[in-house]
Amino acid sequence: MHKKTAFEQIFQIKGGDFINAGEPSIKIRNILKDIGIDADIIRRVAITAYEAEMNVVMYGQRGTMKLLVTPEKIVLHIQDKGQGIEDIELAMKPGFTTATEEMREMGFGAGMGLPNIKKNADRFNIRSTIGQGTKLRITFKVK
């Protein structure tokens, strides 16, 4: 069996920067494509990376997204220094959003980001502290 070594890279995400939003997610997709990861896994990673990244852009002030690839799994760690989430259960509900009118005009704020992350991940973990920020850990099995 072909044995890949573990790979790790960290990307910065700037809150409010809608112009460059998506670039970290695109880079992650490109890396996984270069490594030769299965197309369906790349599709699921791309969806979750983009949704998590956009939540930092919209609600997170500033943050980072870390990509970890091992022979067994792909892990995304996203953390931000934003306002945090008051009620995670409510935030996870399809359709729930606190996006501004301006964001919704741009097609954001469908309230489907967190539900779609959960749906596409093999494992999903979210922790948040009001006034401090939010951490997501998203895992995909590679086989």
Partner: protein, 119 residues
């Protein structure tokens, strides 16, 4: 028969589209179609090779098209994309087309040209 060997260049002609970025990509094949203005919906529900019909013209549509490996983007209702959208499209190799028609009308013509949303 639907979705058979249709290229962007075919619909440029049959649907009277204007290429606002990356004419050189008009040889790309189209596998299907999807219409939505909600980015999470497009992220979740498009398939690679879909042509995406939308009202949105801001730079984020390029990242969505790139991440989902869409065939291209058609912006309807005579809207023109922002300058920054075109810069991003060039950098990421995404073809962007515009139509003066409203979405309903354009999608009908795409369907007549042989593109289906179901596959």
């Amino acid at each position: 028969m639907k979705n058979k060997d249709i290229k962007i260049s075919n619909i440029i002609e049959s649907c009277n589209l204007k290429v606002v970025c990356c004419q050189e990509l008009s040889g790309r094949g189209i596998e299907g179609g999807y219409a939505s203005d909600l980015l999470s919906d497009v992220m979740a529900n498009t398939k690679a090779g879909d042509i995406w019909v939308t009202l949105q013209g801001h730079p984020n549509i390029v990242a969505v098209a790139k991440l989902k490996e869409l065939a291209g983007i058609i912006i309807v209702n005579g809207r023109t994309p922002e300058e920054e959208t075109l810069n991003k499209a060039k950098a990421e190799n995404i073809i962007i087309l515009t139509s003066n028609l409203p979405a309903f009308e354009l999608i009908g013509r795409l369907y007549e040209s042989g593109i289906s949303g179901m596959r």
